[in-house]
């Protein structure tokens, strides 16, 4: 499948993917929450059965893992990217109180992670799992016969991560592929998911961590606690005291912009392109740029991205760039077959520079 076709699956129907880049562990024991709290940067104000997105930072305050914390009674399930399970366990050993009573368990050897994304992903799941799935709120999870269903997703569409016992994963994949095809969807690659994440403003720890960037520059302060101590907190406090000089900002362009390009205004350099990808939805390039904080605002047409002697105008935008179709779909009333799309506002409502 081409990127355009896969993109259509995610943005307009339902997409299936294997999430080999995501780790999953369960921290068991009386002090599980405390141990997880010790290594994560955010306040873990999250109830049993819900999920909260947070980060693990290194001593320099830079994100090294993008984590969903999922309290399950007194245990804590973690879904994360950027670190391996043993690296995470090692982090707990290093930063949590050694007296804590915990048992870390890596779930990956015994489970596969299969994900569904798309405005009709819920419909696929309602057929495979149960019609009640439409009642599962965003950022919550629940147990089914062969595993756990997490409702999350980093594309801006309905998203479900299924942690399935290995012995059932093969059948699960085949069944889901069939159901996904029935709504004219299909399998998608990680590249397509990463594009969708970029378009909707989701941070990617695999792309976004450039040297010297902390949550302050990356617009991830909402994942950082204002009151607790955690690995990297001193670096963050120092950076705050110095003053944050740059901020990650989203932009669109027609073409010819690459990661690493310098961004300039008429008066001189204002920053650097972080990531840039061709988007079928926008009909051009979507990307992020690290700009001087004095100009890091959406709605600016005055900048250019350049490498060698190219010079391409960019327009800064508010993220998310798209009017996701999932905002228009109501699982209680619609189905893929019957929903009337003729009155839908366009997916991309902006203009390229």
């Amino acid at each position: 499948m081409s990127l355009e076709e896969e993109y259509t699956f995610v943005r307009h129907s339902a997409a299936l993917s294997r999430m080999e880049h995501v780790q999953c562990v369960r921290i068991e024991g009386e002090d599980a929450t405390e141990a997880v709290d010790a290594i994560c940067s955010g306040d873990l104000w999250v109830r049993d059965g819900r999920m909260r997105q947070t980060l693990i930072l290194d001593e320099r305050g830079q994100p090294i893992a993008d984590v969903y914390v999922c309290p399950d009674d007194d245990d804590c399930i973690l879904l994360f990217e950027g670190m391996t399970a043993s690296e995470l366990f090692e982090y707990i050993d290093r930063y949590a109180d050694p007296e804590l009573e915990i048992r870390p368990v890596d779930l990956r050897p015994t489970h596969e992670l299969i994900s569904l994304h798309g405005p009709y992903a819920w419909e696929v799941l309602s057929r495979w799992l149960t019609p009640d799935i439409i009642g599962l709120p965003y950022l919550s999870f629940y147990y089914f016969d062969h595993g756990i269903c997490f409702r999350a997703g980093k594309t801006g569409e309905y998203g479900y991560d299924l942690l399935v016992h290995r012995e059932h994963a093969g059948d699960a994949w085949q069944d889901l592929l069939g159901l996904v095809s029935a709504v004219r969807g299909g399998e998608v690659s990680l590249e397509t998911l990463d594009l969708c994440a970029l378009e909707n403003g989701f941070f990617s720890v695999r792309h976004g961590s450039v040297d010297g960037l902390t949550p302050l520059e990356l617009q991830l302060q909402w994942r950082v606690s204002a009151r607790k101590r955690f690995p990297g907190v001193e670096a963050i406090e120092e950076r705050r005291a110095e003053g944050v000089g740059r901020r990650l900002t989203h932009f669109v362009a027609r073409d010819g912009v690459r990661a690493g390009d310098e961004v300039r205004s008429a008066d001189g350099p204002v920053g650097r392109v972080g990531s840039a990808m061709l988007s079928p939805g926008v009909g051009g390039i979507v990307g992020t740029a690290l700009l001087d904080i004095s100009v890091a605002h959406p709605g600016i047409d005055a900048f250019f991205a350049s490498h060698s002697d190219t010079k391409r105008p960019i327009r800064t935008i508010s993220s998310p760039a798209l009017f996701n179709r999932s905002l228009l779909v109501d699982p209680h009333r619609h189905t893929y077959e019957t929903r009337d799309r003729s009155m839908d506002p366009p997916l991309w409502q902006g203009a390229l520079p």
Binding site: E30, T33, D37, D43, L44, W45, R47, D48, G49, D73, D74, P131, D132, I134, G135, L136, P137, S140, Y142, R227, K228, P331, H332
Partner: protein, 673 residues
């Protein structure tokens, strides 16, 4: 003595008619009570319908007056049905449990006090203020009063009036449907209603009365989830239903009909259906006859529970089951085949289940009907111990500090307290918590700490909370009313609205500390703290769905209000069934003028000839902390017993609507800790 109380009568003042006969006739004809609202201008709102009490549609009098009138009509109707006149009542021990949650600048127990006075009821009156579960709980607690032997008859029910402020709050939350609600059906949202209902519960063998049904049992739980939304998987509802079945000595296969809360909102109906499937299994759940009466009566708030029980009783008697008016087609995520149509359907059943849920996550379920199948509940009562306590008021932050206050010359306490709940509970999101919730959560957290427990895992579902308080937090009341004044009737402060319930503090506390066991907010006016402890005691003694109950009380300083508290105060005690050094040896409950009876009852429970060493009869040396001072007395007694200053203590309080007493003793703890 735990035979199920007999239901010998009931009475109503409702949108379907005032008085049983009119009510039943309207029900059988398939009328609904929902109509265009005449009482106040609804043009600023997107919906204009409600279910007002018949004959009172345009009555604009003060809601407290309306509530009084509705309450009296329903009570007199009930007494007539039960063939009880006022003279006969005076010769018996009669109690009153009233669900009432009207918010305003007055104490919530005043309605119960006035109703009792009008009818010459001299026994204990308890007010339950948990919004939509108030009258359901009132019936459950009423049954407990009889089962515990405190009274012979209980008039149990609830009252509410539909006011513009209430309407506005619900409207702002987006939960009202534009047209009359269709529970479990295609239209989303609820319709508000009002009214009053009371059932007459009496002890078996009291007199030669017609028994229409037995009140077999009740269950209570808390979601500990959100201020206004129910826990989406219905876990709390399921826990309440299971608790009711257990209390009734019945199993889910014995239930022949379920009267659901069924408000018509997406959140409630879906969660409730999940709960049904969880308790009954999907096969039994799908074939279980169920319906919601809110299509006929609207959502009558604090009177919803009792009116829905009465609807079921009326139908049950003549081989019918109530239906869901307005239901045409099932909505996804809900029951596929609730009993629809406007008129009741023929159905015979032995046992009925009725359930309600409220803002703040309160859930209450009742099981009633015949005594077949016979109850399989064992009769074992458990011993109850006091394992921890915490107290807060100006000058007091440790329970040991209470001693110097009781031993000195009592002086009224004034003032506010300086608290930092975020520091006390660093891992809990306490944004937006109001004053009452902050006080209550602080003491409850400290009391659990004093008891050496932090409920974990399943224990959270078995740890409950009974809070005694006289009104909602003044800061929330103020914010809400100010928002209406400044922004107009259609733009209330929605967050404040969720907090103007007297039960909001208890819900917030349960949510912060993740307590999901049986919970309630009650008041008897002065003495509410001790009342909460007495209730917690009998619940732990007789129920099997809780091992630990926190009995707490809170007053928030509101000096500008005529009956308001003068000082911030809060106190919590942890009661449990695991042996500890102090035991609750006896409890007593009687009418407000019957303090001696309450004391005798408590001493009788203790079973000793001699008087307790420590006697605190007027536990309010301070004045100005009506709910909490009796809890302080308990905490002081606990502290004294722990220190060995006394071996036994009697704490008694002549409350506003009831007299309460409790005996505590020190015991030797033998065996394992």
């Amino acid at each position: 003595m735990s035979q199920s109380p007999h239901i010998t009568g009931w009475g109503v003042a409702s949108a379907l008619g005032v008085g049983r006969d009119r009510f039943r006739a309207a029900l059988l004809r398939g009328n609904t009570g929902i109509a265009e609202i005449q009482r106040f201008d609804t043009s600023p709102f997107a919906t204009h319908v409600g279910a007002m009490v018949a004959g009172y549609e345009a009555d604009e009098r003060d809601p407290t007056l309306l509530c009084q009138e509705f309450g009296l009509l329903a009570l007199r109707d009930a007494l007539a049905h039960a063939a009880l006149d006022i003279e006969r009542l005076r010769t018996m021990r009669v109690g009153l449990t009233v669900g009432a949650s009207l918010f305003g600048d007055y104490n919530t127990e005043s309605l119960a006090r006035d109703l009792a006075r009008e009818l010459g009821i001299s026994g204990p009156s308890i007010t339950i203020s948990t919004a939509c579960t108030s009258s359901t709980q009132a019936i459950g607690f009423g049954a407990d009063l009889i089962r515990e032997g405190f009274v012979d008859i209980v008039l149990a029910g609830g009252v509410d009036a539909l006011t513009p402020a209430l309407f506005s709050g619900f409207h702002a939350l987006g939960v009202l449907s534009e047209r009359p609600c269709t529970p479990f059906g295609r239209q989303i949202g609820t319709t508000l209603g009002e009214g009053a209902g009371f059932v007459v519960l009496e002890r078996s063998g009291l007199r030669d009365a017609v028994t229409h049904a037995l009140l077999r049992g009740y269950g209570l739980s808390g979601d500990a989830y959100h201020e206004t939304s129910p826990e989406p998987r219905g876990r709390g509802v399921a826990a309440a239903i299971r608790g009711a079945l257990d209390d009734a000595g019945a199993s889910e296969t014995d239930i022949g009909y379920f009267n659901a809360h069924g408000t018509g909102t997406m959140a409630n109906d879906t969660a409730e259906w999940c709960a049904v499937q969880s308790v009954f299994g999907s096969e039994l759940g799908e074939s279980l006859p169920l319906s919601s009466s809110k299509g006929h009566l609207g959502h009558a708030q604090s009177a919803a529970g009792v009116l829905e029980v009465i609807t079921t009783l009326e139908c049950m008697q003549i081989g019918l089951a109530p239906t869901t008016a307005g239901f045409e087609a099932a909505r996804p995520g809900g029951p596929p085949q609730p009993l629809g149509s406007k008129q009741p359907k023929p159905l015979t059943y032995e046992l009925a289940l009725s359930s309600n849920s409220a803002f703040g996550g309160s859930n209450c379920a009742l099981v009633f009907g015949n005594d077949r199948p016979a109850s399989s509940a064992p009769e074992q009562r458990r011993r109850v111990f006091v394992s921890g306590a915490a107290a807060l008021c100006p000058g007091v932050s440790q329970i040991s500090e209470l001693a110097s206050i009781y031993e000195a010359e009592p002086e009224p306490l004034h003032g506010e307290l300086d608290l930092d709940l975020a520091a006390e509970l660093p891992r809990v999101d306490v944004r937006g918590i109001d004053r009452a919730a902050e006080l209550l959560t602080t003491v409850t957290s400290r009391a659990l700490g004093d008891a050496g427990v932090q409920p974990r895992g399943k224990a959270r579902g078995r740890t409950g909370l009974i809070a005694g308080t006289l009104r909602a937090s003044p800061d929330s009341l103020h914010r809400f009313h100010t928002s209406l004044e400044e922004r107009g009737i259609a733009k209330p402060d929605a967050t404040a609205f969720a907090q103007v319930l007297p039960s909001a503090a208890q819900s917030a506390c349960a949510k912060a500390l993740n307590l999901r066991g049986p919970q309630s907010t009650i008041t008897i006016g002065e003495g509410s703290g001790l009342m909460a402890a007495v209730m917690a005691t009998w619940m732990l003694a007789r129920r099997r769905d809780a091992d630990r109950m926190v009995a707490a009380a809170v007053d928030v300083r509101s000096p500008s209000s005529p009956e308001g508290a003068l000082a911030d105060a809060a106190c919590a005690l942890v009661l449990c069934t695991t042996p500890s050094t102090v035991e609750v040896a006896g409890i007593g409950l009687a009418g407000p003028e019957q303090l001696d009876d309450a004391i005798s009852e408590a001493r009788r429970g203790w079973g000793r000839e001699e008087a307790p060493e420590l006697f605190i009869e007027r536990p309010d040396p301070f004045g100005g902390m009506p709910a909490t001072s009796s809890s302080f007395a308990l905490a002081h007694a606990l502290s004294s017993l722990r220190r060995g200053a006394a071996g036994s203590a009697l704490i008694a309080s002549r409350g506003t609507t009831a007299s309460v007493a409790m005996v505590l003793t020190s015991i030797e703890v033998t065996g394992n800790d």
